[in-house]
């Protein structure tokens, strides 16, 4: 039986994914045209689906692919009740990115979420609207801030160049992924000391809702041995 494996369709994430599987004795061999790939494991076949990073969580959630490679940030953000839908098979050690809350460096009085909450209350009283936090990770940020007891903020959607929203006056703070912090610094932003929402990395997932018949389970067992997953 063939297991369908969704992997990122371009860029460093795709290259690193190929490297990761190759290093575990599972070289991925290109077949047919540029866009077609296939891989084989001692008798158990794995069919690759090249998908955009954003599609992989969705395909995993509904079980159209058995396995998938994507960042843990996207899985947690995009799949409601992700623990019921997917199982972590292996953190892959690349694609590291931290989802953090950051505020302007000029806010010398703000270094924690506690400060952010107090400032949000003052901001609302003074400006008449809730302090705006720009992000594309709405669910993760909202849950994180609720846990921390931060109130009187408003999430504004930002699908790109989120760091620039503060300078442009469309947000007061941001919640975004950063790998080195350089972009934040260049935009006059700093991370709150307790502002780490999620430490993300590329991860190999198993879709619980995919079809797992005897054939697929056998193929999975072979793959598990090969990849030394358990």
């Amino acid at each position: 039986m063939t297991l369908r494996l969704g992997i990122p369709s371009k860029g460093r994430l795709m290259d690193k994914t190929f490297d990761w599987f190759a290093a575990r004795g599972l070289p991925m061999r290109r077949t047919g045209s540029d866009r077609e790939y296939a891989a084989e494991v001692d008798g158990a076949e794995v069919e690759l689906r090249l998908l955009s990073a954003g599609e992989i969580p969705r395909e995993l959630a509904v079980g159209r692919i058995h396995l998938g490679v994507t960042g843990s940030d996207l899985v947690r953000e995009r799949i409601p009740g992700w623990e019921q839908a997917v199982e972590t098979l292996a953190p892959m050690g690349f694609g590291h990115a931290d989802l953090v809350v950051a505020v302007p460096v000029s806010w010398v009085d703000v270094s924690t979420l506690d400060d952010l909450d107090a400032v949000a209350a003052e901001f609302r009283a003074r400006h008449g609207y809730r302090l705006r936090i720009a992000t594309k990770y709405h669910r993760l940020v909202r849950e994180f801030l609720r846990e921390a007891g931060v109130a009187d903020y408003r999430l504004v959607d930002s699908q790109g160049a989120t760091e620039a929203t503060v300078a442009h006056g469309t947000a007061e703070a941001i919640a975004d992924i950063t790998s080195t912090g350089d972009t934040l610094k260049a935009n006059g932003l700093k991370v709150l000391s307790d502002g780490l929402i999620h430490r993300s990395q590329a991860t190999l997932w198993r879709a619980k809702r995919a079809e797992w018949g005897a054939g697929e389970r056998e193929a999975m067992a072979t793959l598990t041995r090969k990849l030394r997953l358990s």
């Binding site: 000029s106 010398v108 270094s111 924690t112 107090a118 809730r130 947000a171 935009n187 000391s193």
Partner: protein, 370 residues
């Protein structure tokens, strides 16, 4: 399979209790302005309400609750008029992934605006719900957010600290963290002492200059003003242990109403500001007795309603199915004077009311799972 028509019939039977008591049936729109709801409930409402877009009116939400549109309707027709309303219609709530709870269901409600005598109004509402739900074997529970709010008001500390505690009264963990800091049991947040030392050594302007250019809408003056507030707060003496202990005692208070009242009166020796709230509590007990209820059979839990009922600021109540922890409360309600004041831009009206979930009542009567 449970038919919607059966649930509606059940709801209409229940509603007759409210109309007999003089409540005027009212309707409310299904699409509500997202801005109004977000301003009242905060960003968390997005996790619970369905959002949609209107090309002209902007972001809208499918009615998650009747309270806001009913208050809006009442205020639009002149706020200072007493009124009793009842409503019955669909509400929409997102449920957690995998939850078996419905995401659209009928909500039946009763709201009482005005009333010279808040104790009597509270008792009237509670007695009506008690009557509508009798025979179902439900466990009533009552609480009073006003007690906790009065206790906060009575603390010997600065208005800034009281405001912070009041603001987080519905977020128990955050409330506890603030209280621990204000009593000196927990340290200042990371970085604050260091900031205040730098400011003391170099002056506010030098510290702000060193931080880099201003960006965003929060101005340098706002930052400087908050630093001033932090300096004042750092030299504020801690809240006395005895006062904080009264707060803790209130939060864990669980007793039948008359007992609870006695305990609150005892506590007001240590925190005199609690006195008037305890007397209002006693008045409510009398009013409940006058309405035909037996106060010794009504439990009081001071923390009830603290996590789920954000806008209630006085009497709160619920009716729970004792053997069915899987079910949401069959009914819940309370007093929300402050909400009407916010929505009426300062011009409020005393208001108390509650809702019943007819589908849960129907399920209990049918003896099956709803």
């Amino acid at each position: 399979m449970i038919l919607k028509a059966d649930i509606r019939a059940e709801a209409e039977t229940l509603q007759a209790v409210f109309t007999r008591a003089g409540a005027v049936p009212v309707e409310a729109p299904l699409l509500l302005s997202a801005d109004t709801l977000l301003d009242l409930y905060g960003e968390d409402i997005r996790a619970r309400a369905y959002t949609t877009d209107d090309p002209d009116r902007g972001e809208m939400m499918l009615r998650p609750d009747f309270t806001v549109p009913v208050v809006e309707m009442h205020m639009a027709n002149g706020a200072d008029r007493p009124a009793r309303y009842t409503y019955l219609g669909e509400v929409f709530r997102k449920q957690k992934a995998g939850s078996s709870r419905p995401s659209e269901y009928l909500q039946l409600g009763f709201e009482l605006f005005g009333g010279e005598d808040p104790a009597r109004a509270d008792a009237e509402v509670f007695a009506l719900f008690h009557e509508a739900l009798k025979g179902l074997g439900l466990r009533p529970v009552t609480g009073d957010m006003g007690i906790l709010l009065a206790a906060i008001e009575g603390l010997s500390t600065t208005p800034v600290r009281k405001a912070a505690l009041r603001r987080h009264v519905w977020r128990p963990r955050r409330f506890r963290a603030l209280l621990d800091r204000y009593t000196g049991r927990a340290p200042q947040p990371a970085g604050r002492i260091e900031l205040l030392e730098r400011v003391a050594a170099k002056g506010v302007d030098a510290v702000l200059d060193a931080a880099g250019p201003e960006s965003g809408l929060r101005s340098r003056a706002e930052v400087a003003a908050r630093i001033e507030k932090l300096r004042a707060d750092a030299s504020t003496p801690p809240i006395a242990r005895a006062e904080a202990e009264v707060l803790t005692a209130i939060l864990s208070l669980k007793a039948p109403l008359p007992d609870a009242c006695e305990q609150l009166r005892d506590m007001s020796v240590d925190l005199p500001a609690l006195g008037p709230a305890a007397e209002r509590f006693a008045d409510r007990i009398d009013a409940l007795a006058e309405a035909g209820l037996e106060p010794t059979e009504l439990p009081f839990e001071a923390s009830y309603g603290r996590t789920t009922m954000e806008y209630y600021d006085g009497f709160v109540f619920g009716f729970l199915a004792p053997a069915r922890a899987d079910l949401p409360p069959v009914a819940s309600g309370g007093r929300y004077d402050a909400l009407t004041a916010i929505m009426g831009r300062g011009q409020g009206i005393p208001a108390v009311g509650g809702v019943i979930r007819p589908e849960v009542v129907h399920g209990l009567r049918a003896g099956g799972r709803s």
